[in-house]
Symmetry: C2
Subunit: 233 residues, 2 copies
Amino acid sequence: MRQDKIDCSLCNAHASSLFRFCGHQTLELIDAHKSSNAYRKGQIIFFEGNQPLGLFCVNKGVFKIYKAGPDGKEQILYLAKPGDFLGYRALIADEPYTASAEALDESVACFVPRDEFIKVLEAQPDLSRKLMQSLCHELGIAADRLTSMAQKTVRERLAETLLLLYDSFGKENEVQIGIQLPREDIANITGTSTETAIRLLSELKSDGVISLQGKRIHIQDLPALRRIARTYA
Amino acid sequence: MRQDKIDCSLCNAHASSLFRFCGHQTLELIDAHKSSNAYRKGQIIFFEGNQPLGLFCVNKGVFKIYKAGPDGKEQILYLAKPGDFLGYRALIADEPYTASAEALDESVACFVPRDEFIKVLEAQPDLSRKLMQSLCHELGIAADRLTSMAQKTVRERLAETLLLLYDSFGKENEVQIGIQLPREDIANITGTSTETAIRLLSELKSDGVISLQGKRIHIQDLPALRRIARTYA
DNA sequence: CGGCGGATTGATGAACTTCAACGGTTGTGG
DNA sequence: CCACAACCGTTGAAGTTCATCAATCCGCCG
């Protein structure tokens, strides 16, 4: 959808984007070649199986990145928020996308064409180094999640999901999780069925760990939630 | 354990190592600073939680890389064979190791000190690019495994494990899986209990898909195994 | 020969998925 | 403005899949 182009240097998410490791001139170069687009809720910005043509950088809103499992059930891999890069994995690996990305809200993302991004990457060792560092960090997180998925109960993983949402979207001085997801999405992050997610959420509620008002979730007892999730973090 | 230093250029695994993207001079530089070590079966080369001091490159044998789950049960993340880098994830992310590495056989690995590796990385854009590409590829594989772990049955994941072992260690013109693992390791790759792994292995055997002679596993019906694993690959 | 660790098998119970049904809300076309 | 459909959330009932606990067996080593 139409959207005026956003200057990287003026972007509200600039401080949390990897592009902050670029020089001023490079930012202008990126600006010169990129485009900005608005997406409505539910709109998909790339599909699993397609060839990546460039890199997306989230300016506003949230995107879910997910794959289809063998029965068509979706597995949400992560949620991307302002400042996050999207689609760079496939771009750099030189593979088709292995996941799809869908806007969960009214969102805005900028698009940097492949060649331009590669060029910038080669010209900016700082950016390149930070990106590699970020990739390595992500890989460690992926290994953690794999282990959780393999060894923890659904209840424990659901608690992890809530903590993840709270850490990523929780507001300051607030106990409310700053993002409202349908139960199905919560289930698809956790790796369970919607019904089980619902049942365990209401169990956590009756245990006084969280409270629920529709899609709004408040965390009443953070230490208890961490204890349930059995995270050492 | 003592081990004569192995020249990178003479290494039997050189052709499958990322170091093949280094120039001749750089290889000699690496040689000048590295050491080679032999490890006995069961010996651990680094521990989860420790600080990485450098990079390992497998010359001979197989290492399992694993994390401890919340109950102490190990989750095997992958198996490293000759030519594979080990420990670079933590090194580059600048974090403590998030997993441990243990020799499964009599093995040999070379060790390149941190500073030397970083220096080489910065001086060799080719190596750096290929490493980043490899990281991105790994990240995609990790997402696949996560989805499998979340959505597939143990039977399906066990079939995947066998296919993985076959693809990574299977010999040419052979149906035998070229690595012998204890049942417990097979279970810890798959993400199940040893007993369940044993039961499902013997089930696959009575279905005529595989045959078993102790730790040796032969694949009798590869298409059937793929069908069971439900891999599109 | 006795002992030990890995492999196997059986029994039991808990954790989850699946299928079904139902209430509430929203949105939309008539 | 209403009626109806579609969607989401919730709850109940069955049935499976797996983990766990226990016992036994087997191959190998000292």
